[in-house]
Subunit: 766 residues, 2 copies
């Protein structure tokens, strides 16, 4: 590693103090004078026609200042792809899932707003609801969207090599149907928005919005507003996990009510509303088939995926693509791949991305079948993975060249840290170890539009630094990364750098915080901008020190001559000379976009981003099962990430350990349940259980560093990738501990006990 001053160092978060002291401002903390409080009336049906909405009584309630329904909004459709434009700002004629909002009220306080909701009379014509993929795909099933008579929202398929021939030539072919359930994003801060119309007629949104530029575009389309008439200012965000990417009902309601009443309108969702109606992870069923030679060499994989995704398509095209194009293909060499993914509409809450998109399920499916196949071959679980792991110089089925990857190093590290061979030698009863791994092109290129990040870095006349960029601090620490990069380039302490709040009026451009792209893109743009500022400083310093510009070095708040180290000056003196002596402000500009834009070899893929270098995570989990109750305790996790050069190893380890916990919950107990009419049954955190720190196992997290050649400082992104290995590893560990192969999530104690009983019964019967 080069001799960095702050890059690669465990720099404390720049937002640590304000967050720990409770001073950090989140959307719900913001208020404006004269502000109203909004509340949303939600449909009590999963599928129904709206015949009439009578808001007159609500409007007359003292304290109510405005009511909106579908009549108040344009009906321009928007969506992730042109062919999946299925949403409007506010539904007018029909609701498609339980809890879809049909009206909104703004009142002088929350209580009056809630009371007014009770006074709105909606006449519905209930329609037959479709609640599972199977129901949706049945011929003659009720149609949810007119443009999709078959209830298929999106379809993605490809075939590399010749799968059928490869299976025919394999020594073993294993097949299974593997299922996963719906889970929620699980952020602690519910959606919140404060909308107002400023004096120039611009609609200003201050909200809990993970990727404001995405919201900006979709919101403008939905509201028929030009981009220049909408401004988004982001406070801190209490977690997003991809669940705050879109504009939601509350955003449209707040804006619509603010436009109607002329007053600011704040709406904060309850967690119940979030859990019942907002983004969830698709329920998936994968029919997967994998072949291998006797020696464990993988030959082919064939997968047909059906994803049940609720009432709107959202970002699901990407979900379908990523499952096959990335999750299925990596991190093990499989030359022949066939995939079809079908995304199905149902009358449930819409599914989009949840941290890790479809990768976590793709890896669960693939690592499950691989483990089953390995067991049938009688091979060692670690060795089959090591044997098939991608190495530099390999070419993937879709033609990507693997480079700067140390997957093997990560695998070996994890086998050592979990004590694989020791435990194999001396097993502990009721315990099992399982593996999971992923390779992912991080710092992905374009998704539905542009991908560049751009920034301005100002060096103020007191030699402090301002970073103006579009990164969203959603808890991942991107503001700290931004400050580190600027500090590194300009040779100042991180404390000298102020990272300004995101504001679409002033931030230059940022695609969004998703797909592990933050660190890679933001580092790139801020480094470029800071280097531009550094060049401006060096020009002045070179005159002053009488050396060439390229001889100037910045560190410790000073400028030095490299060739004549005795010549130096303080940064402050140089900056003042620039401002006061030469009337030159110092402000750098930079943007960054991945060097490869195309996904070679995939015609028609909407995911045109070329994952230009792979990052990898390998994880092994040891779990113990109670032989009486079936209760699983995760004992230990050993994880090795290969994410290039970490910018901040402390933050990266935090991502890994948080990601581990997030997916452990899906393995063991999370499930968004509904009744027979589509009404959520456990839409609160009392009944919807997630892992907390109390559930955390011993976690050994190692960074295996193999810097990227194409990114800034050689970093690879670590946010999204971190959730994808603990689930397959934990599933395999539980299966090892219980002696039962589970292909349906979550693996609850009830299922385990039932499986044991069935086994005994089978054994008895057999």
């Amino acid at each position: 590693m080069p001799d960095y001053s702050v890059i690669g160092k465990p720099v404390p978060r720049v937002d640590a103090r304000v967050k720990v002291t409770g001073q950090a401002v989140y959307a719900a903390d913001i208020s404006l004078p004269g502000q109203l409080y909004g509340a949303l009336l939600r449909a009590p049906y999963a599928h129904a026609r709206i015949l009439n909405i009578d808001t007159s009584r609500a409007e007359k309630l003292p304290g109510v200042r405005g009511v909106v329904t579908g009549k108040d909004f344009p009906q321009t459709k928007f969506g992730f792809l042109p062919q999946t434009r299925d949403r409007v700002a506010w539904p007018r004629d029909k609701v498609r899932h339980y809890g879809e909002a049909v009206a909104a009220v703004a009142a002088i306080d929350e209580d009056i707003a809630e009371e007014a909701l009770d006074l709105i009379r909606v006449e519905y014509e209930e329609l037959p609801a479709v609640l599972t993929a199977e129901q949706a795909l049945r011929p003659g099933a009720p149609v949810i969207h007119d443009h999709a008579k078959d209830n298929v929202a999106y379809r993605h398929s490809f075939h590399h090599g010749n799968v059928d021939r490869a299976f025919a030539e394999s020594d073993i072919v294993k097949e299974a149907v593997i299922r996963s359930q719906r889970v929620t994003c699980g952020f602690i801060e519910p959606h919140a928005i404060l909308a107002h119309v400023d004096a120039s007629g611009t609609v200003v949104l201050q909200g809990s919005l993970q990727s404001p530029y995405i919201v900006w575009r979709h919101f403008c389309r939905g509201m028929d507003l030009p981009l220049g008439k909408v401004r988004i200012i982001n406070p801190y965000i209490g977690g997003g996990f991809s669940g705050k990417q879109d504009p939601f009902d509350l955003d449209f309601a707040a804006a619509g009510l603010a436009m109607k009443t002329g007053r600011p309108v704040k709406i904060v969702m309850s967690q119940e509303e979030v859990l019942a109606t907002q983004r969830q992870r698709h329920a998936k069923e994968a029919r997967i088939k994998m072949g291998a030679k006797k020696d464990g060499t993988l030959t082919a994989v064939d997968c047909r995926l059906v994803a049940e995704g609720g009432a709107y398509a959202c970002v699901s095209p990407l979900n379908m693509q990523i499952f096959g194009e990335s999750g299925l293909i990596f991190p093990y060499r499989i030359p022949n791949v066939r995939y079809e993914g079908i995304r199905v509409y149902t009358n449930r809450a819409p599914c989009g991305a949840v941290r890790g998109q479809s990768l976590v399920i793709a890896r669960y499916v693939a690592e499950s079948i691989l483990t089953m196949l390995c067991e049938d071959l009688g091979m060692d679980q670690f060795e089959i993975r090591l044997k098939n792991a991608y190495r530099n110089g390999d070419v993937t089925p879709h033609g990507m060249h693997v480079e700067n990857l140390d997957l093997v190093g990560a695998l070996e590290r994890v086998a050592k840290d979990i004590g694989w061979y020791e435990r194999k030698k001396s097993p502990i009863p009721n315990r099992g170890i399982g593996f999971g791994a992923i390779g992912l092109g991080t710092g992905l290129a374009r998704i539905s539009g542009y991908t560049a990040s751009a920034a301005v870095v100002k060096v103020t006349e007191d030699a402090t630094v301002n970073v103006i960029y579009g990164g969203t601090e959603i808890g991942q620490g991107i503001d700290t990364v931004a400050a580190q990069v600027a500090a590194e380039v300009l040779g100042v302490p991180v404390d000298d750098v102020t990272v300004d709040e995101e504001d679409t009026n002033y931030s230059i451009l940022e695609a969004g915080m998703y797909a592990s792209r933050g660190t890679v893109h933001v580092s790139g743009s801020i480094k470029a901008a800071a280097e531009d500022a550094r060049r401006q400083i060096a020009e002045v310093a070179a005159q002053k020190l009488e050396v060439p510009v390229e001889d100037i070095e910045l560190r410790d708040r000073r400028v030095f001559s490299r060739s004549h180290p005795q010549r130096s000056a303080t940064l402050l003196d140089i900056v003042r000379e620039s401002y006061y002596g030469q009337a030159k402000p110092i402000y750098g500009r930079g943007s960054w976009t991945p060097p490869y834009l195309e996904f070679p070899g995939i015609k028609g893929a909407q995911l045109v981003g070329h994952p230009f270098e792979y990052a990898a995570i390998v994880q092994a989990i040891e779990a113990e099962v109670d032989p009486e109750t079936g209760k699983v305790k995760v004992i230990k996790s050993a994880l090795a990430d290969e994410l290039g050069q970490p910018i901040n190893p402390m933050l990266l380890a935090g991502q890994m350990e948080g990601g581990t916990l997030a997916s452990m919950g899906q393995t063991l107990f999370e499930d968004c349940e509904i009744d027979g009419k589509g009404k959520p049954l456990n839409a609160d955190f009392l009944n919807y259980k997630m892992c907390t720190s109390m559930d955390a196992p011993e976690q050994v997290t190692q960074h295996v560093i193999c810097p990227s050649a194409h990114t800034t400082f050689g970093a690879k992104g670590g946010g999204e990738i971190s959730t994808n290995t603990s689930l397959p590893a934990a599933v395999n560990a539980v299966c090892a501990a219980t002696g039962v192969r589970f292909t349906d999530l979550p693996i609850t104690p009830q299922k385990i006990v039932a499986a044991w009983k069935g086994k005994k019964k089978n054994t008895k019967d057999g």
Copy 2:
């Protein structure tokens, strides 16, 4: 004029709609939740020692949340020049003028805050007060500042050529003592501020601040805060006229109270407070001597100026410099010049700049003595001016080369428009015509630090344009100029351009709105930034149209090939290709500073700005006097400005006509009066009369266009210069109409009648 699309066109103001409809937000309109209201306790003495301040009773008043006095503020001195640092954030030991603030209260409403002021007990030891320059300069006079035992705040002098020899060789030498009074800035919006401390500990000021970057630096110095910990966001401003350049007592009070209480604090001054305690124009007494040859060729001028300026020096060094270096020397050729200006402290409200700085009085003094000399020579008033007017190729006494000036054209235009020769032929009883003229280097260079303007111009993905700059819209129309420049360069309508509010966190840099520099500097930086953006557009367009980059032209929201005009595309398509196709955001960056930084030939001049090209205004005024009452009616104004290429002729004419009215008030009736103890007598707009539209004469305003070779689009600045000719022209007109030479302002009916009586008496006696 080149074939501009919007430059030079009378484009309506971009803020016209919000201002006319009352939607425009000014500082007093902004509120924050939990905000407190501040009020200031002001001293009832012009000069007194503060012995003790007891705030305990005020603090106990229910609803009071905080009280501050000098003890709560650092006592770091700040000021315009290092040698004039005489202000602190809040006085601790002494008050130096009537109404100086000694304590401030924040309470839950304005009434409680006012009530609390009554409960504060201040023990003073009254000191002898010095209220005139004469008193201040008397040996043994009371000392106002310890660092200036002689009560002289600043002194500036120079001597070009040999004045004594020139007088000796002159055919005529005329001498007079000419006096002017104190006047106020007269903005309609009083000072207002809303201060709060944000979650990161940054002090945020939203106020009526004319040049936020100047306030930023002085405020930080006064509060001992780093620049990075203060952020200024500017709403619209209801007039500044140089009276809102500094941080004032209310700004420090609001910030101090916000820091102490942890709550936002708003303070809005009353007009009475503004008129009694805030910036005024210096009272001046000039002993001036001018020589000429028989043919009217001017030979020399000698001027000793004493300026009475109140308790603090403020920006007065510049005032002293400008009077001599600019006001006295131009627009007529006078090869020998001697000047000394002395700025004197008194126990009155501090004087700084008022629109036109000291130029208006310099021109009044010079045009008066010139007129008197001309009368003695029996020459024509117009012809003596024409004869001595600077022409291109001339060199000024301080070595400046005159270029790109059409002063002669402006003179001739005005003589024609006022009907000089016709009226000379057939005079109207009780009427007189007077002339006034000025030449001024507009777009002045550096004043106390840097002078650059910098901007970012974004072209958003919908092909609309955002301008991020530091210009302050104080009513002069700079936002419209900014939008015009960006629109011109990018070939879009002005309506496609959004000009963002000024915010020191996001705006790059702007020295301030003063010295007619706005249009010149802002045009420069925005043109540079827009051209940078245009280049980015042209690169994409060139690929698309398959022509060289330099062949690309932007107009009418389209891109064209110049050489193959049939090849074109919409700007929107090109912008989308850039963002979506090539992942390149379009954001230009630019800064501008005048090409000359030094004031050649003037050693030790603090005004190091080189007024690199002269702008000029010539004005003739016809006035009528009532022979019974002495009441003056201004009948007609003919004004010709030579301000290069106007960016917006309509806005420029507005400046000229507003400037004319502003100085007519000083001519005829404005005067800040005090009693014998220094207490203001007419600090309200009922008793302090200013010209309104009801006083406006017929105004003929012509633009004589002689573009600058060094500025953007050839514009010269027009804000400050516009106030300087109506006063001398009106004085000369009144003198012509009355037959009396008045050398003391204002020329009230009482003075006229008294002069007539005196004349008759003298005649009788003689």
